[in-house]
Amino acid sequence: PHPSHASQSPIEPSAGKRMVVEKRAKGEARASRFYPAYDVKPKAKSALVAKPPKLRSSLTPGTVLIMLAGRFRGKRVVMLKVLESGLLLVTGPFEVNGVPLRRVNAAYVIGTSTKIDVSGVELPETVCDAYFKRPKEEKKKKTADEFFAGDDEHEGPSDERKADQAKVDAALMTKIDEVPMLKAYLGALFTLTKGMKPHEMKF
């Protein structure tokens, strides 16, 4: 039988029923006139499950990290946790060095040997990859006037972000104030000076 009529049952003198081929929806691909040359197995859904992200051993929650690239390069920052995407969640804390709750790629970070006990620091449940993901903007064609009007002013961080930041930092600052000179250490920038060889240095 012709493949395009495959959904049709053989015409049988069944009581009053007649099979009709469903009309093809607009935009749907036409049914092929030919069967494939060889038997094609239907593609089975992948049984692979994403494992939790694995990082180098120096990156544990509570570690002080040195940011190596981006807007906050040189800043010393506290790592809070590993997100599902494999990115690290860090915070300055904001009042110490201006780094907010932020995601950072582990490749652009040095893990130092300084650790803070962050077991008591509770992260809001909403903080995850989706929390940080930049919302997709619609692409609009600008008129000539709109083009020269300039971009909209950046709105500051949302109230939710500010609230979460304050909550996390408050808990973290109590831990930081316990250790002498830690606050000053986090506030200072990391730089390379003459004679410093990163591959020979201990962090």
Partner: protein, 178 residues
């Protein structure tokens, strides 16, 4: 060596000799940084050396002179001394402690420590140096202003003489002449 005894020490330009019992520091190779004792001389380029192993970790071996640096320390041991004899001689002279007290050993230790500092320790070191510099500069400013007179370091020559800064002060006060 024998010659050292015949010629008074003050006239000798060399004081560290390659001799049986001389303690040396290995500069190069797998044992670099460790002390060893010269127990025999092979020829003009190399000597037989032993830790002793239980005290320094250097096994008995032939090592060229280019790889070692002689120290001031020496033990009295016979040629080719056994490890037991060497160990006794080291402990009698308390070589390990004597070495640790030398400026040389302290400098080596400081270098090692500096290389092993962590990022946080480096920061604390920087802060300490700044604080020290601040204190020093405060005193220096006071000396320059004349409000602080530094005490001279007591030496044999200066002990009898009048302290210098006290002599300078009236000169500075009367310095309006020029």
């Amino acid at each position: 060596p024998v010659l050292a005894k015949l010629i008074p020490a003050k006239t000798m330009t060399f004081t560290r000799f390659v001799e049986v019992g001389r303690i040396a520091l290995i500069n190069y190779g797998p044992d670099s940084g460790k002390l060893c004792t010269i127990i025999d001389i092979v020829d003009s380029n190399k000597c037989l050396v032993d830790g002793p192993v239980n005290l320094t970790g250097v096994m008995r071996q032939i090592i060229p002179f280019k790889r070692i640096a002689l120290t001031d320390l020496k033990v009295k041991v016979p040629k080719n001394a056994r490890q037991k004899v060497l160990t006794e001689a080291w402990e009698k002279k308390n070589i390990a402690a004597k070495w640790e007290n030398t400026a040389w050993a302290k400098k080596l230790g400081a270098k090692k420590k500096r290389a092993s500092l962590t990022d946080s320790e480096r920061f604390q070191l920087m802060v300490a140096r700044k604080q020290k510099a601040k204190l020093v500069n405060e005193k220096l400013e006071m000396i320059k202003a004349g409000t602080l007179v530094p005490k001279p370091k007591p030496t044999k020559e200066v002990a009898a003489a009048e302290p210098e800064p006290a002599a300078d002060e009236p000169a500075a006060a009367a310095g309006g002449d020029y």
